[in-house]
Subunit: 198 residues, 2 copies
Amino acid sequence: MNKAGTKGVARAERERQIIGIAIEELGERGHARASVVDIARRAGISKPLIYGYFGSKDGLYLACLSHVGDLLVEAVDAARARSGSPDHALDTLAALFDAVGTCRYAWSVLYDPTLPPAGAIHDAATRYRARLADIGAAGSTDLLRRAGHHDPLDHALLNHIWQYAVTAVMRWWTDHPEQSPADMTARCARVLSALTPN
Amino acid sequence: MNKAGTKGVARAERERQIIGIAIEELGERGHARASVVDIARRAGISKPLIYGYFGSKDGLYLACLSHVGDLLVEAVDAARARSGSPDHALDTLAALFDAVGTCRYAWSVLYDPTLPPAGAIHDAATRYRARLADIGAAGSTDLLRRAGHHDPLDHALLNHIWQYAVTAVMRWWTDHPEQSPADMTARCARVLSALTPN
DNA sequence: TCCGTATGACCGATGAGTAATTTACCTGTA
DNA sequence: TACAGGTAAATTACTCATCGGTCATACGGA
């Protein structure tokens, strides 16, 4: 009557499956409200298996973070390398939409606002965010310099706003899932054109 | 040896004090991570007193929500009435900075991202946010119409971005507390001037 | 003596993390 | 080929801490 015993699923594959489901659960509920049992239940396995593979809830979160962090950094980095055009913001967004199209909750996990305010997770997330911010920084610095403003705090603020604006777009997208990545890109092009002087 | 018994603090005054401290605690940690015992400890009282006055954690949160919600709605509403100028965004921000200057965590409480996704708190917060959004909607609609875009979803998206942008500014401010409200207004004026076509 | 202010000590639920155990597969050997 | 036994996959059933919420009770002033 005991259901224990291998189900023929190798560790690597099981880990991938767990990470996939955990990203959805953590992205949707946030670190604070998500529970390991729920993730296990959704994966059709039991909690100790997750602890056996990832050690702790934070370990699992870190694994998810690496996944989505690498995905997003690569996407944005590739977009920067590809485009020499000055309309950098839109290219970045387009790349992000394509990347997130394959992993709906990627952005929510990296920018989870319910993360504990200190510790390994916080540090890792901060590092990934900083890498994204650095790539985006060139654009906002440009914008301010062209308007004749050079206060470094202004630049920091605009950068911060940019991160939140992208988060806003991503959240809006999860509330309108019928929109394709191309739809989103077109929409953002219109919004940006209404904002940016040209 | 029992410390029970009145300390000469009337209910109304005590409630104000508790709400003030709760706004800080809830704004800083968020609904999900804040605990009633901690709020009580910070207020120098015991947990049952809070339950006696507010009934539940959610009741306490609702009281805080009314406080900050009224504060913010009044501020933004007054700013709209006052200014006939087209530079509506900056006026709104200035009013917000002044209001939040007296209640640092007001915005964080209303826009707490750790709120449960359903229930009385969610509903109340959504109502207050909608009132703020409605007032701000005129501005963003204007912006898009002037650029020749009329898709209602575009308007919804820009509105959403605006809310998040303000949240970004408010969070940035809590990370730079030495800035005065006037500093913040000036800074945002520079950033807006770099963004908006004129 | 009543009523409003206030508390310490408890209850129950939830959720992170662990121990002990069971099952299935693979592999070397007679 | 059959079997012993090691190892990886998986579970059930716990512990422990935290936190929302309640109860009975203690003070102190009109």
